[in-house]
């Protein structure tokens, strides 16, 4: 036993060294590797080719982009970074994976899924602030170059010697689209029975055709741009199967202005859409590119208090300019008839839209307003109806019949009363806008005025409003329409979307308007 003692310390020392050395070495290695890990590229999210042009320290815009749009987006991104120095950080992946990521992380600026069915899902989750159409894709049959199996119509896909791949109708949009289209024509069951394999994405289908695992696959035409050995066969049965590609600015974006700038660039017909065409897509009808586009809006004066703030916010958010021309609608109509056509017209009444309808697309009714009798606070003259305005020695102000919708409407309302001539005897002034009537009431030069209830909204401390009973035409409807010739169709549509938004709705309501523009903003 005692002879062991001198031996032990030596052996122990020998044994200690190896684990200790290993531990120290592995820790040192970890430290070095962690340093290496953070020594990424000089600028996050930029390729070396564009690093010099991006602004120092600028946070990149984060774009969630479907893998299917990767090639075209990389091409556009290079140009965009070079031109504007805003670095872009692209997150590529499958559309549904990206959607899941951004739903959870609540971050990111833009979302560009493979087709707009994913945007619909993102909208349901309140993630989409603005939407920009980019392109359409057509469902076609992918076959090897030369079409060795001579596939020309749906019946050819049902032949015994043709192996067919499709994308899963429940997982991929192209599958869903094919099923919808062919179910309508009653041909789906046959094709389903003859489908050799279902894949989860459209690219997997194309890959199968490329490696020769199947003879044909149903894909989007744009997908085939990247496949040199394949060709597209447009079969008549699938002619109706089209999908849209659109990019969304996300509600999570902390820099909506830059995001919108990029989205406008992507969707500009002379910028991003050029690339989309090059990469095999059918580009959408985009606006022309403009660094800071300017649009003109003609609007009835009565609408100014309800829309002014919304438009200012829109300008700041989008980085655009909206030139507003507020005036009586008759004057605006006259200007338009003289050839001065704005990008959009927000009329005070449908009647004034009808007169210039050929210049505009389908108008959308946004709000309603009601004619009332304005009297001084406390109603010292005891006016209760239009009849009382016909009493002697009452100074009445109304809108000008030709210059504004309110005046026109007032005349129609007076017609209904049956004592128009008595009423008109008391009319001492006809103004082009309701605001002027309110000012004249306040200055004491009028005893009563017939104006919109919204005109009185800001003057509640000095004036009372008396409802006109029993005359239905005393109500005006305000439609908004986009000019057919506007060079900024998409931008004006977004302005309309802003006017239809919830915050704008509240402003209309507080100004005394009734809201008609229910439902989600339509884009087409």
């Amino acid at each position: 036993m005692p002879q062991l003692t001198p031996v032990r310390p030596q052996r122990r020392r020998g044994n200690i060294s190896r684990p200790v050395v290993a531990i120290v070495a592995s820790l040192a290695m970890l430290a070095i590797l962690v340093v290496l890990l953070f020594q990424g590229p000089p600028q996050p999210g930029t390729t070396p080719a564009t690093t010099n042009n991006t602004k120092e320290g600028q946070e990149p815009l984060v774009v969630y982009c479907a893998a299917s749009n990767k090639s075209v987006l990389e091409a556009i991104r290079a140009e965009y970074e070079k031109a504007y120095g805003t670095p872009l950080q692209m997150q590529f992946g499958a559309s549904q994976t990206l959607l899941a990521s951004l739903t959870v992380s609540k971050s990111g600026d833009l979302y560009l899924p493979a087709d707009d069915s994913y945007l619909a899902m993102a909208k349901e989750k309140q993630l989409v602030a603005d939407e920009f159409p980019l392109a359409t894709m057509q469902a076609v049959v992918a076959v090897p170059k030369g079409n060795p199996k001579k596939i020309e119509k749906l019946a050819d896909l049902l032949r015994d010697d043709v192996r067919l791949a499709q994308a899963n109708p429940d997982a991929a949009a192209i599958g869903k689209l094919t099923r919808q289209t062919l179910t309508k024509s009653g041909q789906w069951d046959q094709l389903h029975a003859r489908t050799t394999v279902y894949k989860t994405t459209v690219n997997e289908v194309a890959n199968d055709v490329k490696v020769g695992a199947v003879d044909a696959g149903i894909v989007y035409d744009a997908v085939l741009h990247d496949y040199q050995t394949l060709e597209a066969v447009a079969i008549p049965e699938l002619a109706a199967a089209k999908a849209n590609v659109a990019v969304a600015v996300l509600t999570t974006s902390k820099r909506p202005r830059q995001s919108l700038h990029l989205a406008r660039y992507l969707s500009a017909k002379d910028k991003g859409l050029v690339k989309y065409r090059e990469f095999g897509f059918q580009p959408a009808a985009g606006d022309a590119w403009n660094e800071q586009p300017e649009i003109t809006l003609y609007a009835g004066s009565m609408l100014r208090p309800a829309i002014e703030k919304t438009i200012t916010e829109f300008e700041q958010r989008e980085g655009v300019r909206v030139t507003r021309v507020y005036n009586g609608c008759g004057i605006l109509v006259a200007q338009m008839k003289a050839g001065e056509v704005p990008d959009a017209y927000f009329a005070c009444d449908s009647e004034f839209m009808k007169q210039v309808q050929p210049l505009f697309r389908n108008p959308l009714n946004v709000s309603q307003n009601e004619l009332v009798i304005l009297v001084h606070k406390g109603n010292p003259l005891g006016i209760a109806s239009l009849k009382d305005l016909a009493k002697p020695n009452i100074r009445v102000g109304i809108g000008h019949e030709k210059q504004c919708a309110m005046g026109w409407l007032t005349q129609r309302t007076f017609d209904e009363t049956g004592f128009k001539s008595e009423l008109m005897k008391n009319v001492v002034v006809q103004t082009p806008t309701g605001d002027m009537l309110v000012n004249q009431m306040r200055s004491g030069s009028l005893d009563a005025a017939v104006a919109y209830i919204s005109n009185a909204a800001g003057a509640g401390d000095a004036l009372d409003a008396i409802r006109i009973q029993g005359i239905p035409c005393s109500v005006a409807t305000q439609p908004f329409a986009v000019a057919k010739d506007s060079a900024h169709q998409q931008l004006v549509q977004r302005l309309l979307a802003a006017i239809r938004a919830e915050s704008s709705h509240r402003r209309f309501t507080s100004e005394g308007f009734q809201w008609l523009a229910e439902g989600p903003p339509a884009h087409e």
Partner: protein, 284 residues
């Protein structure tokens, strides 16, 4: 007469050939399969695609990030797996079965779920903030806030979350196979637990540790689902080779995808070869 002694010899010689044929045939079929797969890949791509892939700065960055992140997650895995494997192997305690089961979860769960769970974990609102925001506000590297989600640490974390489970399994089996008697003897001779572990158990577990590191590294290299969800596939930032393959596949660049896959094979063979060599030398 000569029957008796000759028979067993002839019998023995005749029976060994079928043995080698059957064993070699069964085992070899798998090797042949792998070789055929690689050969098919090689035939599908061309040196041109290979060179084109290697020349891209994004791919070069992806190679570097892959090697660095895999090695970090392998080292972290072995640091965690060795003590955990040892504890589970040597000690009986309440709730051990529960820990056993928990460790298996990353192995049985679909990898995408791990990524999603990490994403949720870092963005779960707790007391008006979340882990990601908290880290960004309170930790910084240089002058930049410390980001995990969609940044390089997310790559490592996603790899580690899965790879470590495999390392733990390996270490546990390693310690199970080492006779605890040597450690008990060391304890009776006056060693502390830590000494018994460091001086007796660990040197014997050396081969297992090399194996566990290798498994964790290889697992990290192939990891892709959780990275895609938790780290994204941002070029020059969080794109690793496995996500490159996915991205190339999803735009129909099969040749490029195969070229990158072969790059991964080469990287893996080189690194694993070096580790095995080092391990073998250290073990002798």
């Amino acid at each position: 007469m000569s029957d008796q002694p000759a028979a067993p010899a002839a019998h023995r010689a005749g029976s060994d050939v079928p043995f080698y044929v059957v064993m070699g045939g069964l085992g070899g079929s798998y090797v042949v399969l792998i070789v055929l797969l690689l050969a098919a890949d090689l035939a599908f791509t061309s040196p041109g695609h290979f060179a084109a892939a290697l020349a891209k700065p994004e791919i070069q960055y992806a190679i570097r990030l892959t090697l660095v992140s895999c090695t970090i997650s392998a080292l972290l895995s072995i640091w965690v797996a060795t003590p955990l494997g040892y504890l589970l192997s040597r000690f009986q305690f309440r709730g051990r079965w529960l820990i056993d089961t928990i460790i298996d979860i990353p192995i049985v769960l679909p990898p995408l779920v791990i990524g999603l769970s990490l994403l949720i974990l870092f963005h779960l609102p707790v007391a008006g903030t979340n882990l990601e925001t908290f880290l960004q506000e309170h930790v910084s590297i240089g002058r930049r806030p410390f980001r995990v989600t969609y940044a390089q640490p997310a790559v490592v974390l996603a790899q580690f979350a899965v790879a470590c489970a495999f390392a733990v399994q390996t270490m546990r089996v390693t310690f199970d196979q080492i006779d605890p008697r040597a450690e008990q003897v060391a304890l009776t001779l006056g060693c502390r637990r830590s000494q018994a572990f460091l001086q007796v158990a660990l040197p014997q577990a050396w081969r297992g540790m090399i194996a566990a590191t290798t498994v964790a590294w290889a697992r990290s290299l192939g990891e892709f689902g959780p990275i895609l969800v938790f780290a994204g596939a941002t070029r020059m930032k969080t794109e690793v080779l496995s996500t490159t393959v996915f991205l190339e596949l999803s735009v129909g660049q099969l040749e490029a995808a195969v070229a990158v896959s072969l790059l991964m094979v080469i990287a893996a063979m080189t690194v694993l070869g070096i580790v095995r060599l080092l391990g073998a030398r250290a073990a002798t």
